[in-house]
Amino acid sequence: MKPFISRLLGVGSILLFIPLWELIVRVSGLPKFILPSPADVALRFVKALADGSLWIHTGQTLTEILLGLFFGASFATILGYFLAKSYLLESILAPYLVASQAIPIVAVAPLLALWLGPGSASKVLICSLIVFFPILVNTIVGVRAVPAALYDLLRALHATRWQILFKLEIPAALPVLLGGLRVGATLSVIGAIVGELVDAKQGLGFLLKLGDFQYDTSMVFVAVLMLAALALSLYGLVTLLEKKFLKWMK
């Protein structure tokens, strides 16, 4: 199929969804606080935008996501690199890493909120923890997959440790590293929301809970759609990075 036609079909199926939604609301006759119509949601969206509250809450959540992603991904990449290089370190740390994965992060979120308070720190931490493991695993896999013959080439040319890192290991492992970041980016949105649902005064998770308590279901929809938009943007950003740095893979 030609890419143009495939894109047209994609846009068409989304456009078809809105009248279908409207139709369901009308036929079922459900009250607005159970299932708002697209128009209700759009109206609520404009209102939240106009009074500035949507910006504040989205900004809050986005900050938590980006900080969490940054800390989680940095730490995971650095630790992953050393684990990939040292089987000794891996044997020592493996039990902790596996155990940490056995604990659902969502379940410890209340604890972290209790210890770190209702501010953004606990959300950033939950975010970091949730993106940590997939990025760690991908880093290990990516660095270990660097061809041994290319190491030989660089060593025979008397390359320094840093030259090996920047001219061989990073570019060779980059496809797998970005794959990990792609998974991490979507997970980080979940992390921030979990944190905010537990205890927060601000953010899209807070907005979600507020809408729920006040039977303002349109606002819940607005918050969910914003979250989806955030996750898609992050995903798109990683795809953009891949397009820029992985041209050679096509």
């Binding site: 013959a149 030989d152 025979a156 040319l157 030259q163 001219k167 061989l168 570019p171 050679w248």
Partner: protein, 260 residues
């Protein structure tokens, strides 16, 4: 420049050796057992000499190259270079071993990058080598778009760009089809004469060894020992039909007998 290679070999023999290998032993631990890959290897290599190690698989050929490249420490004995500076090594591998994310030009200039040569100069030099190996027009191609022969030419250009003291060739043509391989012999022979490089090549092809080398050393199967050191006194430059001469046939017979 090419004239030097037409001089009698005795001139070459008067040059002092640039590399002496003495009683080299390499042993690997294989579980509880010791695996002896190379045993008592001794030879000397003169500047601009092209020597070939010939042997079956498992004769430690690649191990020997790795020792010369400084990638493998010998268990006993030593390989010593008689050079003022640390030896510069150019290496060509069995598979072209290119970086898939770099273009032809970027792959070729890698050794100069590592030496800290300015990018403009490195590109200029790389372009020169691209001409030498006949890849003009492919500067910006990626390795995945190259045929096996072209990839191996890139590998050769990369091994030559930093003007190495020693060129190590690890069965560089083993993965090519027969016709491409024979064409590459001719090209390598030409490049070697033009560039005046000192070469150590390992191969399991008798014809390849005789066509290219000044000296062929036969390695035995595990542990690898030098069984025969045969000077190849065929005139240079060697044309394709040198392989059908009586002299070539006689030497091939000797080598074949030594391998078995």
């Amino acid at each position: 420049m090419i004239c030097a290679s037409f001089l009698p070999r005795s001139v070459n023999l008067m040059l002092p050796p640039i590399l002496t290998v003495q009683n080299l032993n390499v042993t690997f631990a294989a579980g509880a057992k010791q695996l002896c890959a190379l045993e008592n290897i001794s030879f000397a290599l003169r500047a601009r000499e092209f020597i070939c190690f010939l042997g079956p698989s498992g004769s430690g050929k690649t191990t020997l190259l790795r020792v010369l490249a400084g990638l493998q420490k010998p268990t006993a004995g030593a390989a010593q270079f008689q050079l003022a500076q640390t030896p510069k090594i150019g290496m060509v591998f069995q598979q072209a071993n290119l970086m898939p994310w770099r273009t032809v030009l970027e792959n070729i200039k890698l050794p100069l990058e590592l030496e800290g040569v300015s990018d403009a100069n490195a590109k200029l030099k790389a372009q020169e080598l691209i001409e030498l190996v006949g890849l003009r027009g492919f500067e910006n191609s990626l390795p995945r778009d190259l045929s096996g022969g072209m990839a191996q030419r890139v590998g050769l250009a990369r091994a030559l760009i930093h003007n190495p003291d020693l060129l190590l060739l690890d069965e560089p043509f083993a993965s090519l089809d027969a016709l491409t391989r024979e064409r590459m012999w001719g090209e390598l022979s030409m490049i070697w004469q033009a560039k005046q490089k000192t070469v150590v090549m390992v191969t399991h092809s008798i014809h390849e060894a005789l066509f290219l080398a000044d000296r062929v050393l036969v390695l035995t199967q595990r542990p690898g020992k030098i069984k025969l050191d045969l000077p190849v006194n065929l005139p240079r430059p060697r044309a394709d039909d040198v392989r059908y001469t009586h002299q070539f046939g006689e030497m091939a017979k000797k080598l074949r007998a030594a391998i078995e």
